[in-house]
Amino acid sequence: MKHIIVIGNGMVGYKFCEKLEAKGGLNSYNVTVFGEEARPAYDRVHLSEYFSGKSAEDLGLCNPNWYGDVGIRLKTSELVTEVDTEKKTILSHKGKQYNYDYLIMATGSIPFVPPIKGVEKKGVFVYRTIEDLDAIKDYGEKLKKGKCREAAVMGGGLLGLEAAKAVKDLGLNAHIIEFASRLMPRQLDDGASKTLQKKIESLDIGVYLDRKTEFISGEESIEGLKFQDDTALDCSMLVISAGIRPRDELARKAGVIVGDRGGIVVNDKMETSAPGVYAIGEVAIYNERIYGLVAPGYEMAEVVVNQLTGEDKRMPPEIDMSTQLKLIGTEVASFGEPFIEDEDTTPIVYENKQKGVYKRINISSDGQKLLGGILVGDSSDYSSLHQVYINGLRLPEDPETLIIGSVGGDGGVILDSVLELPDSARVCSCENVTKGRICDSLTDGSCCNLSDVVAATKATSGCGGCKPMVKDLVNETLKSMGQEVKEVVCEHFEYNRQEIYDLIKVHKIVSFEEAILRFGKGHGCEVCKPALASIFASIYNETANKQVSIQDSNDRFLANIQRNGSYSVVPRVPAGEITPDKLIEMGRIAKKYDLYTKVTGGQRIDMFGAKLEELPLIWKELIDAGFESGHAYGKALRTVKSCVGSTWCRYGMDESVSFAIELENRYKGIRSPHKIKGGVSGCIRECAEARCKDFGVIAVEGGWNLYIGGNGGANPKHAQLLAEQIDNETCIKYIDRFLMFYIQTAAPLTRTSKWLEKVEGGIDYVRQVVVENRLGIAEDLEKEMQGLINSYECEWKQAIEDPEMMKRFKHFVNSDDTDDNIVFVPMRDQKMPRPWK
């Protein structure tokens, strides 16, 4: 077999491997990849998310085992030092020599560091690798303890703005220094830059334009910047993001032709001047240009894969450099020719200073074609404008309606339907997916919904900018096939809960902000926030303490709010079994805090009338006495009710209390679309009322009968039989699978009974999935459930041990007073809230 060596394991180097594997290229080639960094390829586009909660693993482009699994040899931390294009060999810094038949140079670029006096000082960084970010983070942490928390970012381009956001996320005061007279000079015009600048400044990030840095002041460490106009800025950190330079030194040394200003020269097959040597990504110079975006890099990788597998795909002569992204919370997009203004072109500009929106489109003077444009503050028209531009579609009579909307209309109506686009229209530039490909995947039956399409075509998995269009295409195509388009969570997410669940899981999204940014719009509401909180809890088993602001009010305060704004407290009493000592402790605590007590329907004790600031004090004492949270406030497992069973009862067939305790402890803390209740009865007299529960277990001759989908409430439902005469172990296995299946697929706030009604095929279908493993997912469901069980933590214990979390249990921020509006009146030797008028 012939041998391909890939130098560089960045995004484009990885994409080459992925595409080669997908095309079956590994059947005819051995592949060895050299990466200088210690970790396999990661997502540099979303690098700044490293500061907002993502780990290095989260940013990884694939599972680290993938290379080995498909048979690619990956050598990380190994730098290639020499290439001999005559002998077709390379040498690594370990002194090892390798032969190649084809060499792919994907060495990428390095940050350009301008030759300014003082750049060697401590506190000056570049922004490119995870190691750079780690260094920035460490230094930033130290600065936060000192007195100067000012940090400058040199470069107001795309990456510089990302860096500024990252620095701000670290808790420092960010200042952006730009050499040119506007921000993002390659993408924006003056008006757009001004709009963006205003937005950025409103977030307390300084913007300094037209500043040429003369030197960096300070002794050993940076203390400030001095500019050529004699102004200065005090700062303790500088992140340089002033452009990139291609890493062409290997090629240069090997005698491969490079451009005047660097970069390996390639033709439209991505071939360099040396036979068998290709260059792709930011190191390649094609049509006398370097392309610093990921989409052209991916396309280059695809061209080479095609060339090596016997096809003749070429790089197009014009490369689309359109981009759409969110920078420091502001939507920015630029496409085609953003600036041109000559006799053949007419720009149309819309500006709304109050809302911070700037839109510009450039129209050919005959009014026929869209040549390019800029959007700042609101890029919702981007997808359709970009499609009109890239496909050369005819413009409406009044082209201004493209950006300001027609009078009385609902804005930017360009296409009556996305289905009017030609099949060849490229919808996802990053992954090069056409409209035809997306629609075909649905009409040929291989995909039936958005997540299938995303998995099959990889559309939207790059920058994500095409998301709305792909979604529209999927919906419209399904509609044209006569399929109903399903319900959505709320106005902020045009997906149902299951789709959001899949998206969060597949894309490893870790926060609500990130989810709404990538898959939604607006700022969320009381419907989608708790729905996503529940999804995060189900995927990562994070407690309600992690993302406090998206929790339903009760989850946020880990207690149930009652009529007068006081709260009730319910500790867990598994299966209702409690020792006299614990009862005494509970009584003592209730007395001390003057709480109203009542036994609940779930066989535990509810204590009412606690003021917000008393909650942690009460819980501290309860936890010391051996109690833990009962999750009575959450959409989570409540209780598993039991009868005394064969241990005491003369009719009992099995130990219902022991089994109920085991089940309650097993599923405690697990969040779900709605509350879950369980029951275990020791015989068919059914004293535990197990058939009124989401899962009910009843002892019979020869084992347990398992019922699912019951509830009390406004529409009582008896649970339906799922399996008969099974042993404890099988019963647990089935409940694991059933609950996980329900958690993954139910709509928000849907109890198991309603879910069961909606599932096509009903109980028989669920039995096929859960008992007979028809979908082959049983093992995964069990594994995911076990993961949740293993990571259980009492969230009240977590809360009282962390002073930061405790802040939320104060009624007033600026006073230690309690709420004097809460009034209780006496009732039957206890107290109750003053009745509502």
Partner: protein
């Protein structure tokens, strides 16, 4: 009860006589609210981080007269920032306090100013 409600009247920025320091920015949760006390008044202050804006309104729920609005969840409806009362999920515009389901209940709103990392709420007295 009506007396209590009358305590709270919307104050426009032009009518502010005193700016009361409510605490530091860090005292308030991100994308959430907390309550402050000024004289006898309870005011809910919201740090709407994703919108980069701050809002203040009465903490008193105008429906059942309980001091709970600050514990409500915030969000937006058609880009208008809003808060949902934790008791019955009635939602109110944070811009002008009107009920967004079209009911008659209304919250009084107060201007907020941020300076040097501190949060100030404006009152007319």
């Amino acid at each position: 009860m009506q007396d209590l409600l009358n305590e709270y009247q919307t104050i426009g920025v032009d009518k502010v006589k005193v700016w009361v320091k409510a605490g530091t920015v860090d005292d308030f949760p991100t994308n959430g609210g907390a309550c402050i006390k000024y004289k006898k008044k309870q005011i809910a202050v919201f740090n709407f981080t994703t919108m980069s804006r701050w809002y203040a309104c009465q903490n008193l729920c105008p429906h059942k007269m309980e001091m709970v609005i600050s514990r409500g969840m915030i969000g937006d409806k058609d880009q208008i920032p809003k808060v949902a009362c934790p008791l019955h999920k009635k939602t109110f515009s944070l811009e002008n306090g009107t009920n967004m389901e079209g009911e008659d209940y209304k919250l009084a709103t107060y201007p907020v100013r941020i300076a040097d990392g501190a949060v100030f709420v404006g009152f007319s007295e």
